[in-house]
């Protein structure tokens, strides 16, 4: 099994208002095709860890490898490119752009990558929407669809560039039971059918239990 993501001795401090160590010697790796959940109590540093792993937060000590490549801490445009190509994000809030319709929202990262032509990106975006069962919403304005649907659009957007890994920060946090189950089923389907690697931060134990592997954190350390 190849390692998609590997963290070595990650330490992170918050300096304001006082120095607090939020991550302490965090080391772990995720293999291709794994469906991993990261759980722990509120404030244990799980979200902080996710943002370090996502390359958006570069203020840490230690080494982060994505797809075997060490991530630099200074090169902002290189990291942007990595996020574009190799990581898909799903957040608690959907963050869809209201100025665009659903299809365009999904296409944006694909157009940015510019690996395919516009027509191909559009076709691929429709494919992703079909997998998630929301292809009928493609031409609606993104603020005209429901909350659960928005989250599914966000997942489609995360999938558009066939990322190595999908990272989720409480993706079901804002959803009701029915929609949460739906989103979980989608993740499960992606992991089983498409061998998609997933790393999901959640504080919902029932969600975590159903994933392949649970990483538990407490006070900035991985405990299991």
């Amino acid at each position: 099994m190849s390692k998609i993501l590997e963290a070595k001795n990650i330490n992170k401090f918050f300096h304001d208002p006082v120095d607090i160590q939020v991550l302490e010697n965090v080391s772990f790796s995720i293999n291709k095709g794994e469906f991993v959940s990261l759980t722990g109590k509120s404030g244990c540093g799980k979200s902080t860890l996710l943002y370090v792993l996502s390359t958006m937060d570069t203020d840490y000590d230690g080494t982060l490898l994505i797809d075997g490549v060490e991530m630099p801490k200074k090169n902002e445009s290189f990291l942007a490119k990595i996020r574009n190509e190799k990581i898909g994000f799903v957040f608690q809030f959907h963050y869809l752009l209201n100025e665009f319709n659903v299809l365009e929202n999904v296409m944006l990262p694909g157009l940015k990558l510019a690996k395919y032509s516009r027509d191909q990106v559009e076709y691929r975006a429709m494919e992703k929407l079909k997998i998630l069962g929301i292809d009928h919403l493609a031409l609606k304005k993104s603020n005209h669809v429901s909350g659960g649907e928005k989250q599914r659009v966000a997942i489609a957007r995360a999938l558009i560039n066939d990322p190595h890994i999908i990272m989720g920060d409480e993706p079901t946090g804002n959803l009701d039971k029915k929609n949460s189950d739906l989103v979980f089923d989608i993740f499960n389907k992606l992991a089983d059918e498409f061998k998609q690697t997933l790393l999901i931060v959640t504080h919902d134990p029932s969600f975590a239990e159903r994933t392949h592997r649970i990483i538990k954190m407490e006070d900035g350390k991985i405990i299991s």
Partner: protein
């Protein structure tokens, strides 16, 4: 492809807030409109005022001034060559006002490549007799074709025809004020007395209005031959040679050169009318500063609106960055927005500016002193339009640059975690 995508995002953000965008664009449009109109109008006015004096003033005038001889006999004495001398009651030597060897001088000046043309002039001081009243005045003997060609003499003739001066013997064109005082019209005769006491009958063939009333009250024009006849002098008697140059800025140098070469006095236009040039340049300076001030104010408007837009679009910026758009991409998006507002507003401003100038150009402007001017003067100079659009581009670019840089520095983690 990538640029197209960023432009596309910029377009969507622009259209999503089209009302704000419009307000920003209207600000630019307004300032460019005013900039263009102001400059066109101000230049028109400058040209008009310059025309009043500069167009009819020779660039270099060659004449014999009345002044004391610089070489007084005492200076030539070898005995006192090292002494200071003081001479009391020196008198100007009024030997002759005519230029020596005028024919040859004119021929040689016409061969100078810097010269556009020249017109000779003879001045006679006379009295116009009207019953028991004598009015002092002067008659300029001119070559009416040359004078019209070089100094727009035609434009000031309000009645009659300048060509009649050469066609009709002993004819005269009177200043409007002078004609009114003498109560004469075209076809009437006026009687003049020269300083030597000779009487002459001249036929009025026209009147002129120069725009400067004091001139019109005392001046009149006749052909060179007529004036030479009045003064009873030979045909080569010329009191001044008026030279027009191709490049007005060379006038001082040329005047100095001619003074030495032809042993006569030469005066250049800059010395004679320095106040006009100063006035023109200051008026131009004022219009430019007002225009640029307006643009800077519009720039602040754009700055504010973009700042607000960035504040509103914080989430969008965060997700764009999370999904792989770099800081530079985000910066470019906002600069595109600003520059689009600038170019669109600027182009509209050029259009409106042209329209407003055209409207002002139609407003009647009648002034007794300027008979040929019927409407407000406007200059349509493409340079103003080019400067206008370049300025609007530069101001909006900078107005957009600061907010755009702020947007590019937004940390997506802070925004996303804050939710």
């Amino acid at each position: 492809m990538r640029k197209g995508l960023l432009l596309n995002i910029a377009k969507s953000l622009l259209l999503a807030r089209w009302r704000q965008t419009l307000v920003a664009a209207v600000g630019v449009t307004f300032s460019i409109t005013m900039f263009i109109t102001l400059l066109s109008f101000m230049s028109g006015l400058n040209d008009l005022l310059d025309g009043l004096i500069l167009n009819r003033t020779p660039h270099v005038r060659i004449y014999n001034d009345i002044k004391p001889n610089a070489d007084q006999p005492i200076n030539k004495s070898a005995t006192y060559s090292k002494a200071h001398n003081f001479i009391g009651s020196v008198k100007s030597d009024a030997n002759r006002q005519a230029i020596y060897n005028s024919e040859a001088i004119m021929k040689s000046i016409l061969n100078d490549p810097r010269v556009l043309g020249l017109s000779p002039k003879v001045t006679a001081q006379v009295f116009f007799n009207d019953g028991s009243v004598d009015i002092t005045g002067s008659i300029f003997g001119i070559n009416s074709t040359q004078e019209s060609k070089l100094y727009h003499f035609d434009e000031y003739i309000t009645t009659g025809n300048s060509a009649d001066l050469t066609k009709i013997n002993n004819s005269i064109i009177l200043g409007k004020g002078l004609a009114d005082k003498l109560l004469v019209q075209i076809g009437d005769a006026v009687q003049v007395t020269t300083s030597k006491g000779d009487l002459f009958q001249l036929k009025v063939v026209g009147t002129f209005q120069s725009g400067i009333k004091d001139f019109d009250n005392v001046q009149s024009y006749a052909s060179i031959n007529t004036v030479q006849k009045i003064l009873s002098v030979p045909n080569d008697y010329i009191t001044s040679i008026q030279v027009k140059l191709k490049d007005i800025t060379q006038a001082p140098a040329v005047a100095k050169e001619y003074q030495k070469l032809y042993q006569a006095d030469a005066e250049d236009i800059q010395t004679a009318n320095s106040q006009f040039e100063t006035g023109s340049s200051i008026r131009t300076l004022i219009s430019y500063s007002v225009g640029i001030t307006l643009l800077i104010v519009a720039g602040f408007g754009i700055y504010n609106i973009l700042n607000m837009m960035i504040f509103e679009k914080m989430d969008s910026i965060a997700i764009l960055k999370a999904t792989g758009f770099s800081g530079t991409d985000v910066k470019n998006i906002f600069i595109y927005i600003a520059v689009t507002i600038g170019i669109f507003g600027g182009l509209m401003g050029l259009l409106f500016g042209f329209g407003l100038s055209a409207v002002i150009d139609q407003i009647p402007f009648n002034t007794a002193s300027l008979p040929t001017i019927k409407t407000y003067p406007i200059v349509y100079n493409p340079r103003f339009y080019i400067i206008g659009i370049i300025f609007s581009f530069i101001t909006t670019y900078f107005a957009g640059w600061f907010p755009a840089r702020k947007a590019s520095k937004i940390d997506p983690v802070v925004i996303i975690r804050g939710k």
